[in-house]
Amino acid sequence: MDETESLFEAPPLAEQERMVEAMLFASTEPLSKPQLEKRMPQGCDAAEALSLLSKRYSGRGVELRRVGDGWAFRTAPDLGFLMSHQVKEVRKLSRAAIETLSIIAYHQPVSRAEIEEIRGVSVSRGTLDQLLELEWIKLGRRRNTPGRPVTFIVTQIFLDQFGLESSRDLPGIKELRDAGLLDNRPPPGPMPGHEAPDADDQVEMFEEDLD
């Protein structure tokens, strides 16, 4: 090695490791060996520095990872949970969902067409999906009628959630009325002439319905 070469002697390996560490940290994308070396003083060997760095970060909270041709720091996989901030939120079920659920609970097994017939409006796929996801309902047997429609039934999870031993424990219409539920509930839409429904009206209404 002659004089001129020694002028450009590469920095000590520990220094090269620091350099690679800083560059990979600050870079917005993974850096390849040639990219690293282009920015380092002459005579540096990024491969050696990378190997030292990889050992240094092994088992740490961040790790040196190979990404394609390049290298980058990444969070250790077991600490991924720290990168997500969990927010708990309790929501009320939508009216469509609770109605659909109640129909399934009271009429199970019941097909989608039947739910629609009872609600008087169509049941969106999303509503059923939501209840299926919550595992409050599941698919029952197919009905033995043309088209063999699937039916829905409530699950054990549903019963646990609502503190019921079986769906037969759900109060019937008469009990609902006795509990005052049917009286207190305002009608879903304006009902002409029924501004203040009294108990008698309600009784008549349900006796008719039950025929």
């Binding site: 969990q86 009320k92 509930r185």
Partner: protein, 260 residues
């Protein structure tokens, strides 16, 4: 001493101050620059000499008919007042602050301004983020995960069901109704078996299944399917069909093979 100051001020004012008054950030800045020409520690500065330097500059500007901003003139008036107070022996009935105190405060202001200039230079000379040192280039975003739990009670369930039940014309499901539909397939089956009885024109009603004529709903279903079935058979060339007028009985008869 005074002669020297005056001369140096003349030299400086001619070259710098008058020509380039815009380069100063106000009269205090100009005073600080003038004070530096005294080449002494700002704490030991002669405020009297400084006042004279400044007043000389203002005269010079007037001579050259340069317009000076109002705050430069206010400073000039104040310095003229300070100068007279500093030169004349204090009179016992003088009111207001002592001239020495005012001069000391001016010196303090200049020293403080210079100190802040120095501090600013040192601050700006520091290593700076994004220039000399860097933050993580590839931050990993924190994902906000929402865990949604749905709340509903038996009461909600009952209220929802009650709400449905209170809606107009609710009917409990009668799934068995579907068994009371006489399908076309059933009608076809039945009629094929009975064709032997229709060698002459016969009312379609006679072919309805037993017991279906009594209930209007059932009769409608059976009539419709039997009529559809008979049309199928006409198409197949098995029977003939006729109706003498609107709402008259529909009659069928087995097609005479010899006619064909």
């Amino acid at each position: 001493m005074r002669e020297n100051h005056t001369r140096s001020v003349e030299a400086v004012s001619a070259e710098a101050f008058v020509v380039d008054v815009d380069g100063f950030e106000g009269p205090l800045d100009m005073l600080l620059t003038l004070a530096r020409t005294q080449k002494v520690d700002l704490r030991k500065i002669s405020v009297l000499a400084l006042a004279e330097q400044y007043l000389h500059f203002v005269e010079e500007a007037r001579r050259l008919r340069l317009e000076l901003a109002a705050d430069y003139l206010v400073m000039a008036a104040w310095l003229a007042y300070l100068k007279s107070r500093l030169l004349l022996p204090p009179e016992p009935e003088d009111e207001g602050p002592n001239a020495e105190d005012l001069a000391a405060h001016l010196a303090f202001q200049l020293e403080r301004l210079e100190a802040m200039r120095g501090a600013a230079a040192r601050l700006m000379g520091r290593d700076q983020l994004g220039r000399d040192f860097f933050a993580r280039g590839l931050p990993e975003d924190i994902e906000r995960k929402k865990i949604i739990t749905y709340k509903a009670s038996v009461l909600d369930l009952m209220q929802a069901y009650a709400a449905i039940r209170t809606r107009e014309d609710f009917k409990p499901l009668h799934l068995e109704e579907r068994d009371h539909v006489f399908t076309m397939e059933q009608a076809l089956e039945r009629m094929k078996g009975l064709l032997g009885h229709a060698v002459s024109w016969s009312d379609l009603q006679q072919f309805l299944p037993e017991g279906w004529q009594t209930d209007a709903r059932l009769a409608r279903s059976a009539t419709a399917s039997s009529f559809a079935a008979s049309l199928e058979m006409v198409k197949a060339g098995l029977i003939e069909i006729r109706q003498s007028g609107l709402f008259e009985p529909i009659e069928i008869k087995v097609k005479d093979q010899r006619d064909g």
